[in-house]
Symmetry: C2
């Protein structure tokens, strides 16, 4: 490809609208342009990257037994009414009517459509397992679309749905997909980690998210420094180490005027926050829930909500707390609380510690030497806290937990019979008995993966594409357009590389060399070949984008050397 | 692929909803399923065919200098308001609102989006020509979607847009696309013909439609039996051969009671319909138009409307004719008509003939021996008729015109500056002068091409895929599933073919051989290899779907022979 013809409009300035690196660089390097909020046109360079990602995904889906199909983007409302999601989905669902007034949704996901298809076409256990997937646009009407391709309103996803005759079959399909995802992200050249994630209300015993590691990632990952344990922070657990019991001291009530927060109280009393008890009051549709944990810990609201199994769960307002418990949130403590709220739940860590300080349920006072069982009772002791770095691994003996930031690019999910039950997708088993199919769903955000690759692979000069998904492998730059020998040598190498199957751009624009170098770094070609003054001695210079390492090559051998380098690296996966 | 795992749900019965062959066979052979009216899911076999069509299209677009991009499906209304099409487009445009009430269209075409992109990114003649294309879903809310993939509401199109600095450049881009389309349909293995088509109100001096020839096609093509001239029937012209003048006879008025139609009048008078004059009255927003032509000819309303340049043109109602001309349509004739209607337009063929019969503009009477000029005058003599088979080619000396039926699968179109003017897409030329870009647009219906391929290639047993776009090249059928030797031999050949790069299905279902043969014909695999009783003598049978020819092969050589056949045929294009 000739840079003079390539539509890759690079920008010197960072557009003000772009908050995250991938969004900034995709705009600056001429990969995307905005058509509307959260809606983008993918320009030729992005198109090439997306094609490569899709091709790797497709190959691995096929290898795992997936069959590719394409389902409609415009989905009839009837199916969504049947599954019950038409009314539940809310404003995130783009809806439209046709000329006859019939309602449609722009698919954010395709469980309804695929389940409808399979219930009509599959009737026997002999046709199972069945793994169907598509790579297509998805729609989600985000309230505030931002971060470029990280959270768009129109985006490309791969979604596969597995149909099995029983739970065991589903586990096998799940493992196939888990392995396929591992191969995909490895082949893409990304540093990633599959982490255990919360399955939420849908149930299903297991779900994993595939996280591309990146400092600016919006998700926190907890992982073991010794074994393979990894989970997202909402799901992460730790192993509690039994503490030595101290002798219980007599309960005391002490005045703590104006001391509201844990830090204020600890400072006032000259103790560590971990010697205090934090009690938070949550509103749910079933009643108030008190979460009791150590003063220095954070509540994991997802764990808490799963435990109490409510539709809503959020911190109660000061007014509601005062009205229902008779004291302001800053003075709440677990002593005498049970029975006043719907449920009191304490974290295992806090109940094993002695002689703690907590709110006295009376404004301006705290209690000292509070001990579980002697001084307060709860409805349930269960893990309700956010795990922190440095805690013990829940799976192995030796490991300590570490944290990292990541971007979720894929998810594998055990759906069970949620949709097959709702849409009556049944089959006859070996004994002629009718059963519901057991389903799984498995997504990869294709456009999001492109953005995540940039979040993980960039520097102050631009993108650093992994070779497997780079839009082109090599850019050839003649330093002086006016120097006929340089131009001819560059053209010759360009033509040789192209013939050798190496995807090459020649920067034949009438621009200063500095502009070409800057664009090459910004766009992130893995290799840059410079044809400059040293050509007089028969030499050209190869620079690797990632390392910055340069290497002088004989002009006659350059194309072959580069082709070997590229092919060797591509063959690594 | 194993048939036991392939989701290809064949049907024995033809679904009642399917009127055309391609729709019937796509449903029966398990290629598509309906999700809503005009909205389909493409099952694995269709997906493979579509991939192959798209890949050939992509290769030829790239070869012609096209750069692939992807534009949004949801397009902001603002751009459509700017181009003026938001209000013009009518009910065929799917419209929706986002959560903030902003309006969007589901793109039926992408002139607005692409012109907006290019006006923002391209400013100099150095960046032109620019050829950008995408392969993506398109939306058209047809009033009555039918004929399956021939006229859907959601369908896949390739659309390329060319931007040039002047008319000459556009002609070059147009020719590149014309040539690319010719290569594409040749490579797809289809019988097709590019035909001249009417450019309509958009103007542009030239446009061609690419027609796949098929008896059930909805378009009529007129072509020369000698030279390359071909046009769709709306655009087709013919060369008029001068007739020998007869001596003009005196005008007579004759009673023709109850004789209304041309055929009735001709029979009543004992003359041929070609000796009569047909006069049709059209309603337009500018006034009535009288079309005068030989009694045996048909008006070409597109030619007529282009001549009078009106927004509307349709036959006037009887009431309007009586009210404005004072006589019923059956008695209208050109004598004395000029001045009573806005325009009288006569076809060149009718004005060169003498002594014709026409309505007397008086109920129950006709005129005999009517001669142009002596007896009647018109506002314009111009070609307003449908050309018919047997007429003379307008381009060559010798040729006679023939007609055929076709399906439009592609169009190349010179847009000129329609959109660049409306959206102000300008650039600076070599002299620093601002100019509007000159555009072209070029579409191929991908899903429609799949359907058209079936309309052209089928028999009473099912589809006959051209090899280049067949979902698989070969099906291997062990006749008896219970015969272990047959099963093993079939498996071995299947595995050999797959290793040789031949796309193969093995029909390993527990079904009678008859069912497998029927499905093989219905699905349309180009080659069927049967492993049956002759295996005992080391023989298997190869059958070619298209010709029905069979060939006995040694079991040991079968895979290699088939692979050679397939590769030879694929290499032909």
């Amino acid at each position: 490809m000739r840079a003079s013809q390539l539509l890759a409009p690079t920008l010197r300035e960072t557009p003000a609208e772009a908050e995250v690196i991938s969004h900034q660089l995709l705009l600056r390097a001429g990969f995307i342009r905005k058509a509307a909020a959260g809606v983008y046109t993918y320009l030729p360079l992005a198109q090439r990257v997306l094609h490569k990602i899709m091709q790797i995904v497709r190959e691995e889906m096929n290898r795992a037994g997936g069959q590719e199909i394409t389902m409609p983007i415009i989905q009839p409302a009837e199916l969504w009414l049947e599954s019950g999601r038409w009314h539940v989905y809310g404003d995130e669902l783009f809806r439209l009517k046709d000329r006859h007034g019939r309602e449609f949704a722009l698919g954010p996901t395709h469980e309804e459509i695929i389940t409808d298809l399979v219930r009509n076409e599959v009737h026997s256990y002999k046709q199972l397992p069945l793994l169907l997937y598509q790579i297509a646009n998805k729609y989600r009407d985000e309230r505030r679309p931002r971060f470029g391709l990280m959270r768009g309103r129109e985006f490309i996803m791969k979604d596969l749905y597995s149909f099995d005759k029983d739970e065991v079959g589903m586990q096998i399909s799940y493992q196939k997909m888990f392995d396929a995802y591992t191969r995909i992200f490895t082949r893409l050249g990304l540093k990633f980690r599959p982490v255990e994630a919360d399955a939420g209300a849908i149930g299903g015993s297991s779900t994993h998210e595939f996280m591309v590691l990146a400092d600016a990632g919006e998700a926190t990952i907890v992982y073991c420094d010794t074994c393979t344990y990894a989970a997202n922070v909402e799901k992460a657990e730790s192993r509690l180490i039994a503490r030595e019991k101290q002798e219980a001291q007599p309960l005391e009530k002490i005045a703590t005027p104006e001391q509201k927060t844990i830090d204020e109280v600890a400072a006032f009393l000259g103790i560590a926050p971990e010697q205090t008890i934090k009690t938070l009051i949550y509103h749910t549709e079933k009643g108030l829930v008190a979460a009791v944990l150590r003063g220095d810990r954070q509540v994991n609201e997802i764990k808490l909500q799963n435990l109490v199994d409510t539709l809503q769960l959020h911190l109660a307002s000061d007014e509601e707390v005062v009205e229902k418990i008779g004291v302001a949130p800053g003075s709440i403590g677990p002593v005498g609380l049970k029975g006043k709220v719907w449920q009191v739940i304490a974290d295992p860590e806090v109940v094993q510690q002695n002689n703690l300080v907590c709110g006295a349920n009376e404004d301006g006072y705290h209690l000292k030497n509070v001990n579980y069982d002697r001084d307060y009772a709860v409805d349930l002791v269960a893990d309700i806290r956010m795990v922190e770095a440095g805690e013990h691994c829940p799976r192995c003996e030796e490991g300590k937990l570490l944290t990292a930031k990541g971007i979720e690019v894929g998810q594998v999910f055990q759906l069970g019979t949620k949709y097959s039950k709702a849409l009556n997708a049944v089959f006859l088993d070996e004994n002629g008995k009718q059963k519901e199919m057991v389903m799984g769903c498995y997504g990869i955000g294709i456009t999001r993966t492109m953005a995540a690759a940039i979040e993980q692979n960039h520097d102050e000069n631009g993108i650093i594409w992994p070779l497997a998904i780079a839009p082109y492998h090599v850019v050839v730059i003649p330093v002086s357009e006016k120097d006929q020998q340089q131009r001819e040598a560059a053209e010759k190498i360009y033509s040789q590389l192209t013939q050798l199957g190496i995807e090459t751009v020649i920067d034949d624009r009438v621009e200063r060399a500095g502009v070409k170098f800057k664009d090459a770094d910004l766009i992130g070609y893995p290799y840059r070949l410079t044809v400059g003054k040293t050509l007089a001695e028969g030499k050209v210079e190869l620079k690797e984008r990632r390392t910055g390492n340069t290497r002088v090559l004989d002009v006659e051998e350059a194309a072959q050397v580069i082709a070997n380098l590229v092919k060797e690296e591509l063959a690594r996966y």
